[in-house]
Amino acid sequence: MGNFLPSTDAQCKEMLNVIGVSSVGELYADIPRAMREKAAEAVNELPKGVSEFEALDAMRALAKKNRVFDAIFRGAGAYWHHIPAVVSRVAAKEAFVTAYTPYQPEISQGILQTIFEYQTILCELTGMDAGNASVYDGATAAAEAAAMCRERNRTLTLLAGGLNPESIETVRTYSFGADAEYAIVPNKEGRLDLDALKTALNTGVASLILQSPNYFGVVEDIPAIAELVHAAGAKLVVSMNPTAMVLLRSPGECGADVAIGDGQPLGIPLSYGGPYLGFMACKKEMIRKLPGRIVGQTADAAGRRCFVLTLQAREQHIRREKASSNICSNQALCALTAAAYCSAMGPQGMGEVARACYDNAHYLAAKLGKIKGFELAYPGAPFFHEFVTGTPADLTERALKALGEKNILGGLPVEGGILWCATERNTSAQIDALVETVKAVIA
């Protein structure tokens, strides 16, 4: 069924003839008969094929069962940004979409060069020396970073309390695999507790994974933390939202050894959580510890500049059980999308986006903060485009419900309140509507 089997019956017959069998069944002779019959029965019980139109209609019906909010004030790892139309068009170009990993550089320069450009952009944003071609997402980037920082005698990974809880869970899962230890350094007033950090740092610590702005929106004092971590001989991994990097000091400027994060804000739609883009960049010294695909510049025999997958000696297809990571397929098209986004926006456009996020979030915080029950949880702490109001649970529920009725997705309920987010898409009209709605709930 479907229009994806080009061979006609006549052609199939010819082909079988050339092979020297009379039916496809003969080709399956190695499969035990009972096993084949069972499999055939099983597919028989699946729904039959339908036309493209019917399949699409079924998907449309599912899509309609989801609510597309008119305004989204929720972040927590997934951000509602405008995606320039040219970016979507670039990312939909058929050859980009249908090619695979550029194993054959002669017919893949377009993809290789894009990744090289992406790596460069990533270095510029993070202030690092080298980046890889992507890992699955921000959470696995954290787990991979933990792994790349471990050394023979330093195996403990410290996780900042402000790290996205899903990242923490992911590092925990990977650590279970690696039989490695991890410990959480708690927060104090929304930021990493430096005293607790000092206590936690010992000679067994491989790295600290810090998020800034952290999960609660607060900008951490990365330089101070870097000093402590480095003094203890450990590595500092900083996870940062790429939009924030345009405005705030980059991980590199702040002394991080590895910068990681999720590139979703760079032109990738919300998509109910995926596919997104895990990015990783590091200082020169750590390049050969980076996992994943890496593209490098070289030349052909005629001296023409070109690009190839490089440093493959780190990878699974060469090193097998000794590889630095098992990653193979990654998020290449998302990396291409991010490169296109940064190219289409340019430094000015991205600066404007960052600034609008900052201003809108602060406007929202100022307005919300004045409402009883919506006071800022960490007043005075610097934040970028997310912040927490210390809202009690019952009020949280009522406020979010009231907003939902206006087709506004409010902030995320977290421990101790609501985690709000505003981006350049949240117009002040939307913010005002939100604030009015919340006020009405209180009244």
């Binding site: 597919v43 609510r67 550089p105 695999g177 959580g273 070109c306 440093l311 990653i327 190219s343 002040s428």
Partner: protein, 482 residues
């Protein structure tokens, strides 16, 4: 061609952001970035042209035959992309309330039910983002299984030497010791070697069937029995599932867990290297260990998520590569059980046909029939003419086609691995065979010429050794300033 940074004009600007009507908020000076990132400064015209030029230097499935073995480069229906771009899917937040995402969760549940039935598993998660990620989860399930039973000595994973590199790499990542076992003469699992390898330290076996030689291991039930008999579990690398839909179910072969590369068998596009999705299915014995946020059909007919306190934990953010799963669901819905079975049958037919066409010229790495792919060895050609598998592969480019996979699996010398997939017509296979014949003829008459292939591409073979020795991994802005 120029890099975007070389097209950049200082001060030129791209897309504007909406101006915020909110008042300009103060920022503490010390928090501010000092050096602005040197992003390309381009107009939209520049962006359009830059990426158009780049696309013209990419060979995709839309450009022709792409028999890259092990990667299942089938044609991906355009409708998949349409479904994935519906705003009701692409515009929803992963943390929006379950009530407002019923369609999305239903999609996940439907996909899982269909795929479980297809592969004979009891439960499935879509959290892993790719095959290798799925393998990792699979081995963690096995690890937790033994642990929870207090069976703590099981630290070894058996992997045949024909396995994909991700298999041993994954086993290491999951904290296991890898026991490589050599393949039998005919490329299947050497039962004696397997029997010798298993024991009380065996955590499990990782196997792909058909294997990377394209052979369906007819001893599969014996194999899984041996492992189970020793107390281990069996993990199925489903990357080759495109051969056997409707013909054999991993569950029926005796496997306890399986990952499916949705981007291979289930027709979601490869995107130049990703994103994919590595759905992991398992038998009931492993179900409690699956990641939390498992999409489920609730008693009241609505959809939601289930957690388990035994879960090995989360593999990544949110629910995995959701839009990839959605494309797979679109595909499965359109093809139906009958269509999936036909797809596999035609994949097998095509591979055997191409293999038959090439048989007289190129010794296949094994006897009998193949499944959806096959491996040939150019060892004797190399000896006779000096022309390597690489040379032949590169010459394929000059014939207007994507080369087969080179030098994999590692157990075959000068290997080329062809996977035509079911979406190719006979005439494409005929043309490919003709191209190979021509290349082999030239190998005899002008071997030096083949060392220089490809010659029809914008660049010749790059210096890969130089690239690795002296890594240039980002654009050097100082170059431009000179």
């Amino acid at each position: 061609m120029k890099l975007s940074f070389e097209r950049s004009v200082p001060g030129r600007r791209g897309c504007r952001a909406p101006q915020s009507a909110a008042p300009h908020a103060a920022i503490e000076e010390s928090l501010l970035r000092k050096l602005p990132p040197r992003l390309p400064e381009l107009s939209e015209t520049d962006v359009s042209r830059h990426f158009s030029e780049l696309e013209r230097q990419v060979y995709g499935v839309n450009d022709g035959f792409y028999p890259l073995g092990s990667c299942t480069m089938k044609y991906n229906p355009a409708v998949n992309e349409q479904a994935a771009s519906l705003e009701g899917f692409s515009g929803i937040h992963p943390l929006q309330p379950v009530e407002s995402a019923q369609g999305a969760i239903e999609a996940l549940v439907r996909a899982k039910e269909l795929l479980c039935q297809l592969v004979g598993m009891d439960e499935m998660t879509f959290q892993p983002a790719a095959g290798a990620h799925g393998e990792f989860l699979g081995l963690l399930l096995i690890k937790r299984y033994h642990e929870e039973r207090g069976d703590c000595a099981r630290k070894k994973i058996i992997v045949p030497d024909s396995a994909h590199g991700t298999n041993p790499a994954t086993a290491s990542m999951a904290g296991f010791t890898v026991i490589n076992i050599p393949s039998a003469q005919d490329g299947t699992v050497d039962l004696a070697a397997l029997r010798a390898a298993v024991g009380p330290d065996t955590a499990g076996l990782m196997l792909t069937n058909p294997n990377t030689l394209g052979i369906f291991d007819k001893n599969i039930l014996e194999i899984t029995d041996i492992v189970h008999g020793a107390g281990g579990l069996c993990y199925y690398d489903g990357a080759n599932m495109n051969a056997v839909m409707g013909a054999a179910r991993p569950g029926d072969m005796g496997f306890d867990a399986v990952h499916l590369n949705l981007h291979k068998t289930f027709s979601t596009p490869h995107g130049g290297g990703g994103p994919g999705a590595g759905a992991v299915g398992c038998k009931e014995c492993l179900t409690p260990y699956l990641p939390n946020r498992l999409p489920v059909r609730l008693a009241d007919g609505t959809f939601g998520y289930a957690d388990s306190e035994h879960s090995v934990g989360r593999m990544k953010f949110f629910c995995g590569n959701f839009l990839v799963v959605l494309r797979a669901l679109t595909y499965i819905t359109m093809l139906g059980g009958d269509g999936l079975q036909e797809a596999s049958e035609n994949a097998v037919l095509n591979a055997n046909y191409l293999r038959a066409l090439l048989k007289s010229e190129l010794p296949a790495a094994n006897e009998g029939f193949c499944m959806h792919e096959f491996v040939v060895s150019l060892e004797s050609l190399k000896k006779e003419t000096g022309v390597s598998a690489m040379d032949v592969a590169k010459s394929f480019i000059d014939a207007g086609m994507h080369p087969p996979t080179m030098y994999f699996p590692l157990i075959v010398h000068e290997a080329l691995m062809f996977e035509p997939t079911e979406t190719e017509g006979k005439e494409t296979l005929d043309a490919a065979a003709e191209a190979v014949r021509n290349i082999l003829a030239r190998a005899k008459t002008e071997p030096e010429a083949l060392h220089l292939a490809p010659v029809t591409t914008p660049i010749g073979r790059p210096d890969e050794v130089g690239a690795a020795r002296n890594p240039i991994l980002r654009y050097d802005f100082t170059e431009a300033d000179q």
